[in-house]
């Protein structure tokens, strides 16, 4: 009861820009995985390097990130990941 309720979701990509197999890449083509943490207050997503041979993510190689504060941005249109005031919060997530 004292732990924040969180949902984890993830999505694979073959490249860091949209291409024809971006929606549904075959396992062998996956190079990036987007891991999301969804709480009642925010969604934080980090898109990191992924190795399809050993199914491991490399959180030291971050392609991009997303941070949405749901109270002011329920539709998730205003990505705050690169805003300096959230640097410490993002470090905490990582």
């Amino acid at each position: 009861s004292d732990v924040e309720a969180i949902a984890y979701s993830q999505y694979p990509r073959p490249a860091d820009h949209p291409q024809w197999n971006s929606d549904l890449p075959h396992l062998r083509d996956i190079r990036i995985m987007g891991y999301s943490i969804r709480s009642c207050d925010y969604r934080y997503t980090v898109w990191v390097e992924f190795n399809p041979l050993n199914y491991t993510a490399n959180f030291l190689n971050v392609y991009a990130g997303e941070l949405y504060l749901l109270e002011t941005d329920p539709n998730q249109d205003n990505n705050l990941y690169n805003h300096t005031e959230f640097v410490n919060l993002i470090k905490e997530f990582l």
Partner: protein, 412 residues
């Protein structure tokens, strides 16, 4: 203790566009009625917004990194670990387990058998009309038949004169009757195909959504700060004949606004068609006297973008793609037994229904996940909750990466 039956209803690509989730456009009176007698979770999320990985995940209660399934190309028992499934657990606890329609994702991801006989007591049922879903059965403005995205049909004029979800409802009702006669506890999973594309549904449901009342998504533009890697280019939509004819630029589009309205109109109509099927199924569950000892669970494999952020379909981590409806009806727990002569789930005709007359159920805004389904349904039926998985669980057949959320019913 008498064992409770389970009716597990899974929709395909259904986001939380339901009246009971606050949607003011969609007409979903039968699911709203189920919600009014259920614990309803408003913040429930899939683990990956695409069919096979999500279904394999929630049916094994393991995350995609443990099922090692991120695409449609492998069977977890040989590729990751020989994990027990939710229906298998019930089967091993004395239940007859039955599958109708799309429960597991078909194909290699469920061993081309829907994981039969591991998960099911009898071979899973698939509607014969399923084979026409992607055929040219949609009447175009040229009078010819096409494989369109937007596909309202006259049911009497399509092959076999029926649609897959109608057949699934009929089969599920038949199985309910058979299970009642047999008298042993059952776990019946019914996987409806809609509102998955093509948006193919009985054309009369269009009347519920006059085009002039349909609006665009509140945020139809691609947000400035959205990383390119986060964007999904909705390639499955582009392949349909009517969309292909629009000659939309890849990858960012956009779809012309008038066609966006048509997609949204047909998605909503497909949801109302799904609602009618769910209503008929529950009506029969009730008529058979089974509503008093059957737990009913309703959810979807994931959501679907309807133009938000300039995106369509699933394939992303946005809430509209990962968010799902999730509700649990537990007889005499989430709703009292009905008064003598009263019904629990009478069918509600969406064409006669006046919106706003159905009260909400036990609503919770706590964040939950689809991996929670397995332990939650087990506990609701009176079975032991599977133990939590350790950090590495590839060689453990029965464990859960979710939690039972039954305790949250009280907080609803």
């Amino acid at each position: 203790k008498e064992k409770k039956n389970v009716l597990f209803i899974v929709a395909d690509d259904l986001r939380t566009s339901l009246h009971c989730y606050g949607d003011q456009i969609v007409k979903s009176p039968n699911i709203d009625q189920l919600a009014s007698k259920s614990a309803v979770f408003q913040n429930a999320f899939a683990q990956q917004a695409v069919c096979a990985p999500s279904r394999t995940s929630f049916l094994t209660s393991r995350r995609p990194d443990t099922t090692k399934l991120y695409d449609f190309g492998s069977y977890w028992r040989v590729h990751a670990g020989n994990y027990s499934t939710l229906p298998q657990y019930f089967k091993e606890n004395g239940y007859i387990t039955m599958s109708v329609g799309k429960v597991f994702h078909p194909g290699i991801s469920s061993n081309h058998t829907d994981d039969y006989p591991y998960s099911w007591s009898i071979p899973p049922y698939h509607p014969s009309a399923e084979k026409y879903e992607n055929a040219k059965t949609c009447r175009g403005s040229d009078g010819k038949l096409h494989a369109n995205l937007v596909c309202p049909v006259a049911v009497s004029q399509v092959p076999e004169g029926t649609l897959p979800d109608i057949q699934s409802t009929e089969e599920a009702i038949w199985l309910l009757k058979a299970a009642k006669e047999k008298g042993s506890p059952f776990f019946l999973a019914v996987g409806y195909h809609k509102p998955h594309i093509p948006l193919r549904y009985p054309q009369e449901f269009l009347k519920l959504y006059p085009l002039e009342e349909v609006t665009l998504a509140p945020d139809p533009e691609i947000p400035e700060g959205l990383p390119a890697v986060a964007y999904n280019p909705w390639t499955d939509i582009r392949k349909r004949e009517d969309v292909k004819a629009l000659n939309i630029s890849f990858p960012y589009g956009p779809i012309p606004k008038d066609f966006q309205l048509l997609i949204r109109q047909s998605y909503f109509a497909a949801v109302s068609y799904l609602d009618s099927q769910v209503g008929q199924l529950l009506d029969n569950l009730d008529k058979l006297g089974l509503a008093k000892n059957t737990v009913v669970v309703f959810t979807s494999d994931h959501g679907w973008s309807l133009g938000e952020h300039g995106e369509w379909a699933k394939y992303s981590n946005f809430d509209v793609a990962t968010g799902v409806p999730l509700m649990f009806y537990v007889p005499n727990i989430t709703a009292p037994f009905p008064q003598p002569g009263k019904r629990t789930f009478p069918f509600i005709d969406p064409f006669d229904h006046v919106p706003g007359k159905i009260p909400p159920g036990l609503v919770s805004s706590i964040v939950v996940e689809l991996v929670d389904l397995f332990p939650t349904i087990a506990e609701l039926a009176g079975l032991n909750v599977p133990p939590p998985c350790p950090k590495t669980s590839f060689d453990i057949q029965l464990c859960t990466e979710g939690i039972s959320i039954v305790d949250l019913f009280n907080a609803s």
